[in-house]
Amino acid sequence: MRMIKTFLMGMFFLLLLAGNTYAHKVNIYAYAENGKVFTKSYFNDGKPAINSTIEVYDRNKKLLLTGRTDQNGEFSFDIPQAIELYIVLNASMGHRNEYILSEDEVRSAVSGLKAQAPGVSEQRKRKKEELPGVKSQIDSSELEAVLSDVLERKIAPIMERLIKIERDIQKPSISEVLGGIGYILGLMGIGIYFKYRQKR
């Protein structure tokens, strides 16, 4: 009994130490924008996964392209096709995770790029000079390009925050830790019950 008490105290101490730290798992997060896909990879403790392999597959598991993450655990690539993309991160020592980028997201990133083609923006500038303040003359593709420009600026901080929240969600919570210990104690009870019946 004394031993169990000391051990429980020891575990409590370990828990205190563990308070703000995370553990061993690698995560990947990706989003598409302006014809490019941006990925960010990090370990559970928030450290970036440096120099890890990234493989991009299509729906049929056909390899489209590969790359390596940089010092910030980031890797970006041009969208090969406007289809659903499976992005697989392979960090060293058997750590692996994947992220599925939906077809809608990829498609919208590609179409946004088209609206921003250089010719269009030139045209937009010229039209603005010619007809200042005449809103009805602006066609939908130009409007879309302008809007996506503004939106992109507005969305950037939100994106960053999303990544941060995603990272926080991955971190084990104290209730999960205590729950796990509870499961083990429950198993102990079951084990003792059966062994006790055997003994009698």
């Binding site: 051990f7 370990l14 690698v26 830790v177 102990m188």
Partner: protein, 206 residues
């Protein structure tokens, strides 16, 4: 230490699962009534230990404590580690269900070896300096053993053994020393409060 889902090939997964099943079966058989609470407590310690993480180089590593578990539990380390890993997979998404067998074997097998090594080194006497030394040695080598087994498992993915092993072993050197110190400290503490725990394995009882 936790190999993720989808990295290993089927033969490796099946071999790991079979070895673990054998180890767990044997461990459960060896586990008697009085030992169950001890197994549960050490299993919880293992479950929590992986949350204590040590930043090293490009990767991150965490405590394993398999040496300590092995030399206190003997063969019962197999069920203890399996339970800890299962809960880590469910609650923290470390490793995965298909790799549970391989991961358990990778951590539990060196634990068993450290159990035998400990009784070889520490001998019958519980002399303090010897206890500290063998505790440190076993704590450190079981982490080393696990790192090597992980590298060995990764061969099937096409990773060459030597570079992978070098990387994993290097990353775990800080963990090895910390685990050695923790194991030695726990042993010297147990010797004071409950020396009969350390006498397991004497008189044919594993």
């Amino acid at each position: 230490m936790h190999i993720s889902e989808g990295v290993l090939s089927a033969p490796v997964l099946i071999t790991g699962a079979a070895l673990t099943a054998a180890g767990v079966g044997f461990g459960l058989k060896k586990m008697d009534y009085e030992k169950i609470p001890e197994v549960a407590v050490l299993s919880s310690a293992f479950f929590v230990a992986s949350l204590i993480h040590i930043p090293v180089g490009p990767s991150s590593v965490h405590l394993v404590l398999n040496g300590l578990i092995g030399l206190l539990l003997g063969w019962s380390a197999f069920p203890a580690i399996l339970v800890g890993l299962t809960l880590q997979a469910i609650l923290f998404q470390f490793g995965g269900f298909t790799t549970l067998g391989v991961n358990t074997f990778n951590m539990a097998f060196p634990a068993i070896i450290s159990f035998y090594l400990f009784h070889l080194f520490a001998g019958k006497s519980l002399e303090h300096s010897r206890l500290i030394f063998s505790g440190f040695f076993c704590g450190a080598t079981s982490v080393l053993g696990s790192a090597l087994l992980v590298a060995l498992s990764l061969i099937s993915t096409g990773e060459a053994f030597l570079p992978a092993a070098k990387l994993i072993v290097l990353a775990h050197i800080p963990v090895m020393s910390i685990e050695g110190i923790i194991t030695a400290a726990v042993l010297s503490f147990l010797k004071k409060v409950k020396p009969e725990l350390l006498m397991m394995g004497k008189g044919g009882k594993l």
